[in-house]
């Protein structure tokens, strides 16, 4: 059986690791992305998601350098994004060592972009990232440009539309829950997973092991986690062994494999 994935998520601001709450509040510096990636590699994470949250020309070249360095020593899938606007952006990241590319705002701005990228680099290479928030009771909307601009799209319809444009995977982030560590949006996960044919990676709200178990039971294929790993004594290895011993279908931890 396919294992559920545990994915540390790194947010980069001009090359350094940062973490906010709900995208804009309580900025905290969280260290060096390269050394943190190496540590999580030794902890046996399943994959990395690395997002440049304030993309600029300068930060893009820093990200390329970071991906290059990480891919020399970390042998697992690297999913990279932030400010992806052209096929050339994708090509540069893939050549630097990325395996999957995250597209967010550009998919809204240019509706053909995801399709074009999937055709050029393969469906499995393109992850669509959806940031959403509840604007009034029961009404959710997709936000772009790092959560700044509201669009007219509902996250579920938008995800299904992107699936029809041949993206390989959806990364779903709840803006309200991001960094607040009080649990994933289970209702949204259940609803989207039941309609989606491609894997669903969820992000935003993880604050403990039970949150992870609930989200995986709700149908998520993978968990993207940052606060839990950066600011608590939980690590990928600890989370994995807890999930494994609770009967969740994850890879066995490195110690028990050797």
């Amino acid at each position: 059986m396919l294992k559920k994935r545990i994915i540390p998520k790194f947010l980069l601001n001009n090359g350094s690791l940062v973490k906010y709450k709900s995208f804009f509040n309580d900025k905290r510096m969280a260290g060096n992305p390269v050394s943190t990636a190496k540590i999580y590699n030794d902890y046996g994470a399943d994959e990395f998601i690395i997002l440049d949250i304030v993309p600029s020309d300068e930060s893009k070249s820093k990200v390329l350098e970071i991906i290059k360095t990480i891919s020399e020593e970390v042998f697992m899938p690297l999913t990279v994004g932030g400010g992806i606007k052209s096929l050339e952006d994708i090509n540069l990241l893939l050549r630097a060592g990325a395996d999957k590319i995250v597209i967010n705002s550009q998919a809204v701005i240019n509706p053909n972009f995801v399709n074009e990228a999937a055709k050029t680099f393969g469906d499995q290479c393109i992850t669509i990232s959806i940031d959403y928030a509840q604007i009034k009771d029961g009404v959710h909307r997709v936000f772009i440009n790092g959560g700044r601009d509201r669009t007219k799209h509902n996250p579920i319809d938008w995800a299904l539309k992107m699936q029809d444009s041949f993206c390989g995977e959806v990364l779903l982030t709840s803006i309200e829950r991001d960094g607040n560590m009080n649990g994933y949006d289970l209702k949204m996960i259940k609803e989207l997973d039941s309609k989606l044919d491609i894997p669903l990676v969820i992000s935003g709200g993880c604050g403990g092991i039970q949150h992870c178990v609930d989200a995986l039971n709700a149908g998520a294929s993978a968990l993207a986690i940052s606060s839990l790993f950066l600011f608590t004594d939980h690590s990928p290895i600890k989370l994995r062994s807890h999930l494994y011993s609770n009967g969740v279908n994850v890879r066995a931890s490195k110690n028990s494999r050797n």
Binding site: L2, E72, F75, M76, D123, P199, R257
Partner: protein, 231 residues
């Protein structure tokens, strides 16, 4: 936890990846099409083996081992392999001269006779098989098959030397799979709603649907076994 070992005891091969026989090993990683071939190079570099990413015929002729990485779609892969004349080089070096060969992902799929990814394409035809799309099953499985999955070995092979069952978990990412008619060539299978072929091997050839270069310690171990393999 491991038991105490005297510092004078000889190191065990499996637990010490740096103990590899490095004499006269050089690997050609075949360069064709778009995508990430760097990770294969990085993984070999990590275990201390000389490798070169190349489509140069002379370089391929001079190496001891050949890796065909997985890049892009079946049709694109085959047309660039033909365009660079790599099919003839591979036939000469692998089939006639018996150099150890590892195909990864699409690099395994193109060994088949025919592939049906975006149209019908002729493959290298080293194995009587066809490559078709994974269909969404009754258990509502997601396509692409993306992530870590357990494989089951159908026969013993030196490439899995020192692997425990729990280590046989590798990273997959694919929407197409190989349906093989020569069952004696199946090395490993994997379950994703259906049982499909995760690895094939015969003579000096081995190929995997999963990505060893992305499979952490298990993948590193497999690559190390490959460069030490003398079929």
């Amino acid at each position: 936890m491991g038991s105490y070992k005297s510092p004078l005891a000889p190191p065990s091969i499996n637990k010490n990846w740096w103990v590899v026989d490095l004499i006269m090993k050089s690997v050609s990683i075949i360069d064709y099409g778009k995508g990430n071939v760097r990770s294969v190079y990085n993984a070999l570099d990590y275990i201390g083996v000389d490798s070169v990413v190349t489509k140069d015929h002379a370089e391929i002729n001079n190496c001891s081992h050949i890796i065909l990485p997985g890049v892009g779609a079946y049709g694109d892969a085959m047309s660039s392999i033909r365009a660079y004349g790599l099919d003839e080089v591979l036939n000469e070096q692998v089939i006639k001269r018996g150099k150890p060969f590892l195909g990864v992902c699409v690099g395994m799929q193109v060994l088949s006779s025919v592939g049906f990814e975006h149209g019908e394409h002729k493959g290298l035809g080293w194995v009587d098989a066809k490559v078709t799309k994974l269909e969404k099953g009754p258990e509502c499985l997601k396509i692409p098959h993306m992530g870590w999955n357990q494989i089951n070995l159908c026969s013993k092979h030196p490439i899995f030397r020192g692997f425990s069952d729990e280590m046989l978990v590798f990273y997959f990412v694919h929407s197409f799979f190989m349906q093989i008619n020569e069952s004696e060539k199946i090395l490993a299978s994997c379950n994703y709603g259906i049982n499909f072929t995760a690895g094939i091997a015969w003579d000096n050839i081995i190929a995997t649907q999963f990505h060893p270069e992305k499979s952490q310690d298990a993948g590193i171990e497999l690559l190390k076994n490959f460069v030490n393999w003398a079929p």
